[in-house]
Symmetry: C2
Subunit: 329 residues, 2 copies
């Protein structure tokens, strides 16, 4: 690729003059400007991105930080974010934290080093206090994850209400021993969800059995593992709110292999309304989340912050969720 | 964020001197160097990425171009690529083409503008002739996709042999009317796979029924649609090689709703060996592909090209695939 020096040499002008043309600076005669532009075209000159970034201080790139792209929820969130970014003339870069605090912080270094204009966090591995200092480098928007005090736009849904809805439905269908799965204890979104579960139990006067709280539930494989665990219990629950469609699918499959009738012996509710809910036997009752809209709204918030240079402030947008009943309940 | 000018001012030196320290240039006394480094630390100076890129001409970033991150195959390929890149000190940026030629070319502009060091193509939307010119800007490696003449590293598996294996297995189990699903006709990988299907039919003296070739098969939803189509045919196949686990899952679910016995009335084979194969009823026979290894190997090839500055040349690596038999056959 040719450089600004080669252009200048060919045109018989200084690099300063070429640079002025590139930056739409005055003090270059129209004739000279046309000549330089013509030579750039002939020599197929492309201003390097790094040089342009130095001038404009904008990369037109948004980073999306998620724990894992191979989790269907995050894959769809990324899809929504990428499409909206594209429509608005931005690129979306995807960063994976693999659920590690250090990799999340490393991703945020992109903001510090001005490689991206802003970051959308699809999850939160660190305590907010570790993230907050990066706000001096550029805007951060939270999509899906929740925090009580962070002064940034947070786009999510009412996790407490969604969980309440699911557990309330199980209890009204006659279930009395309801288990609850979660992924990590630290997540605020997960805490809200657990609150919904506890509130529903309490509203119906049901006690909490701590043996029926199951952590580290992310995948189909985890569903297998948890069902092995449940099957070995002296006192098994008659329903499980899994918080995750993959976990629900694994749990149902393994339960059937143990001879359980679903939903008669064990009712199961997932979370997300992924495609998988429609191909299992029985099909899976779940909470539908507007994932694509979640992605779109977070990009819209981000671009407002970038373009209007508005000061960051707390804004909590909650999108509606919906209980979708199928054969597993 | 403070700039090189502020550092220079505080130290009472010229920006040239600060720049020399940043670039490990000689002609700066050790005492002065230490003082400047100390001030940089105190003022929390981070050299901007754009400025560093201009100096080093390396972004330490690899772009991965895929049609859609929400397809499980590509999600896992990205995971493999990102992990390996991370281990080797590189970042992976994910680009989505949404199966569009123009977006694939737009992604390659990153290479032209030197925003990334190299590009790994997980699919190919354009004709190779449109991609080839970008090689003058940096290396391109193909992972999963295939091309007969491209002079670049191609890491994949023998699609013809994998398809042959699946169809041969169906025929040896007594099936005589075997359908075949594909996604797009243009893909070289898909052409190889179809060749395997045709070769297996021909090796067993079975004729091809063109009505049993089904295109645009990507998702669970497509599986539903194709089963509706098949169910309405006067002459239905007794087995389908779907080329995709999602399509297989949708097809099986819908076939059962029509009263088919699987595999008695219709045997089904998927492709990829995704988790979903283990939670459907019946579970799905499929072709196992070493997706994570595919991602790792493509990054290793890319980094060799970047670090050794070796000239690009054709290299075709084929990883082994495996038929995994389950209840759907």
């Amino acid at each position: 690729m040719c450089t600004i020096y080669e252009i200048a040499k060919r045109c018989g002008v200084s690099t300063t003059t070429v640079s002025r043309v590139l930056n739409h600076h005055p003090y270059v005669s129209e004739e000279k400007r046309q000549h330089i532009l013509q030579v750039m075209k002939e020599m197929e000159y492309t201003p390097s991105s790094a040089a342009r970034t130095l001038r404009s201080h904008q990369t037109k790139t948004i980073a999306v930080s998620v724990p894992a792209v191979d989790h269907p929820f995050f894959a769809q969130l990324i899809k929504g974010i990428s499409k909206e970014a594209l429509d608005q003339g931005y690129k979306a870069i995807v960063l994976q934290t693999f659920y590690q605090e250090s990799l999340e912080l490393e991703g945020l270094q992109l903001l510090k080093r001005k490689e991206v204009d802003g970051v959308i966090l699809g999850a939160l591995e660190n305590k907010w206090e570790k993230i907050e200092p990066f706000l001096s480098n550029g805007p951060i928007v939270m999509a899906n994850e929740y925090h009580q005090t962070a002064d940034i736009p947070i786009i999510g849904y009412d996790e407490r209400e969604a969980a309440y809805k699911a557990v309330d439905y199980l209890i009204r269908s006659g279930r009395k021993s309801i288990g609850f799965c979660f992924d990590t204890e630290s997540s605020e979104a997960q805490k809200q969800r657990r609150k919904g579960y506890l509130d529903a139990l309490s509203a119906h006067g049901l006690p909490l059995n701590e043996d029926w709280l199951f952590g580290e539930a992310f995948t189909i494989e985890d569903g297998f593992r948890l069902m092995d665990l449940i099957h070995g219990m002296p006192d098994t629950p008659d329903a499980i709110f899994t918080g995750n469609d993959q976990v629900a699918a694994g749990l149902i499959k393994r339960a059937i292999s143990y001879g359980y009738q679903i939903p008669e012996d064990l009712a199961v509710i997932g979370y997300d309304n992924q495609d998988i809910c429609e191909v299992t036997a029985p099909t899976i009752t779940t909470i539908d989340i507007p994932i694509v809209e979640l992605g779109q709204r977070s990009v819209q918030q981000m671009i407002q912050l970038l373009q209007d240079q508005k000061p960051l402030q707390r804004d909590h947008i909650q999108l509606p969720t919906r209980l979708v009943t199928r054969e597993s309940t």
